[in-house]
């Protein structure tokens, strides 16, 4: 890649604040381990022999062309999709058809979706307290306090009594992040969190995600926001046709991509 392109990327207007890296520490503790994982949709082989280890504290950005299986990969980690071969171990729990294990993993892993998936018939506050009350069995008052704490954190406490439909896309996505955090997850998955947003709202959501990274959250983000990858990721994974083609720390990944496929992809998303 040309130098000039990289400079352009580093001054990406989306990320304009200084990032506090003091809490961003990758530990030796394994958070997620995928071994020889395969998945088919009917006869279509979506994920081929995926091996991946995520340590606690890692901030991983997964990118790749559409249909490369990156969303399916992270959806397998909380069993929204079922894998057919190989092993997925999350925080020491192996994902099988055993509902107890699935519950355990889901209580450790939060997820943010492209289309937010907020519950439209519940207020923002109720969206945030539903799972803590029904899954964690928290008293309502305590759940509401937690919810307000996280709504403050994503900077929309004043919207607590509105309905999702009354909020902008960016605000809804920040609520979705807060709702996830209310379950106090140790790992967060982001499935193209900014892809459905207008450009001016992308920044507020990325800001929230950066704050989360600054606190040391283990994060896996499927995203095309390469500015975000450069600023907070410690590793970028490139996928194509259901396989991990290349992975590296961001500087190396962007400056010195190894495979032709990666070079082509980077030139397509950064070259304009």
């Amino acid at each position: 890649m040309e130098r000039s392109e990289l400079t352009l990327m580093q001054t990406d207007p989306v990320i304009e604040r200084a990032i506090d890296t003091s809490q961003m520490k990758v530990t030796d503790e394994v958070a997620i381990q995928l071994t020889g994982m395969n998945k088919w949709f009917g006869t279509f082989h979506v994920l081929r022999d995926v091996n991946m280890t995520v340590n606690r504290g890692e901030r991983i950005v997964i990118c790749g062309p559409s249909g490369s299986g990156k969303s399916t990969l992270i959806r397998c980690i909380n069993r929204l999709e079922e894998h057919q071969a190989g092993k997925i171990i999350v925080d020491g729990t192996e994902l099988t058809s055993d509902l107890k294990n699935i519950d355990k993993v889901r209580s450790e892993v939060g997820m943010v979706f492209q289309h937010f998936n907020l519950f439209p018939h519940l207020t923002i506050l109720e969206n945030c307290t539903l799972a803590p009350i029904w899954v964690r069995k928290l008293p309502k008052k305590e759940a509401e306090e937690t919810a307000m704490h996280f709504l403050h954190k994503v900077r929309i406490p004043e919207q607590a009594h509105k309905y999702p439909g009354q909020l902008s896309g960016g605000q809804q996505q920040r609520v979705a992040i807060a709702r996830s955090l209310c379950m106090r997850p140790r790992i967060m998955l982001f499935d193209e969190p900014t892809s459905a947003l207008d450009p001016e709202m992308i920044k507020e959501v990325l800001d929230t995600m950066i704050s989360l990274a600054e606190e040391g959250m283990t994060m896996l983000c499927v995203t095309h926001e390469m500015g975000f990858a450069q600023a907070v990721a410690n590793r970028v994974i490139f996928m194509d046709q259901g396989q991990i083609v290349e992975q590296n720390e961001p500087r190396e990944f962007f400056n010195n991509p190894q495979s032709e496929r990666t070079k082509l992809f980077l030139s397509q998303i950064l070259g304009h």
Binding site: N78, L80, L99, D103, R106, S107, V109, G110, M111, F113, H115, F116, N117, L118, F119, P120, H121, L130, A131, W134, V135, Y163, P164, G165, G169, Q172, A176, R179, S180, M183, A196
Partner: protein
Amino acid sequence: MRDLLVEIFGRPHGIVLYQLLDATQFTIYLSLIAFVGGGILGAFIALVRIAPNKWGKRITIAYIWLFQSTPLLMLLFLTGLGVPRLFGMNIDPWYAASISLTLYSSAYMSDVWRGALEAIPRGQWEGASALGLRFLPTLRLVVAPQAVTIALAPTVGFMVQIIKGTSLAYIIGFTDLMTIGKRWANAPVAGTEPYIIFPLMALIYFSLCFPLSLYSRHLERRMGTVKTLRPVAAA
């Protein structure tokens, strides 16, 4: 009531009208039984139908096919005449009519509700699953409350079908508006000719059903503006 009607309409019209209105109450009771019974059974069937269980799904689909593909009249004959004959016992027409209409309406109402439940975007299930909610809590807290707004209008609309369906129960000796009306229409009494009695009965059925149809229409129109159904995102 009877005397008042006789005073206003004279004989025999006052008496006929009184008897018809009196019999209408049984049409209403039977409709309510079929609606509540069919509603409860239908809700259960809809639930099994969408639950992640292959056999539950197959059995409920078979059930719905069976009862949607059999005429209600035949169901009435079967429960009111066939089953008693088979076991050599008497079955009260109340029971026979209630059972037939419950089976009939459950098959249709479960379909209406399944449709409403399935109309809720898959993202709602996924959002709840990712938060650790299992099937039943997700259904109860997230999906069903949203499905109710969709199902309300067709459910009220289907009540009209049930009310009209009850008229067939006269065939197994159930005493309702239809039975009494038909009896008068056959009676050799001047002023109770079929061309007088049947329009009168039609008017009574109409006055039961039409408000429900209007209400269903009203619900349907209101649905588009309910805040809970405002789209959260272009999905």
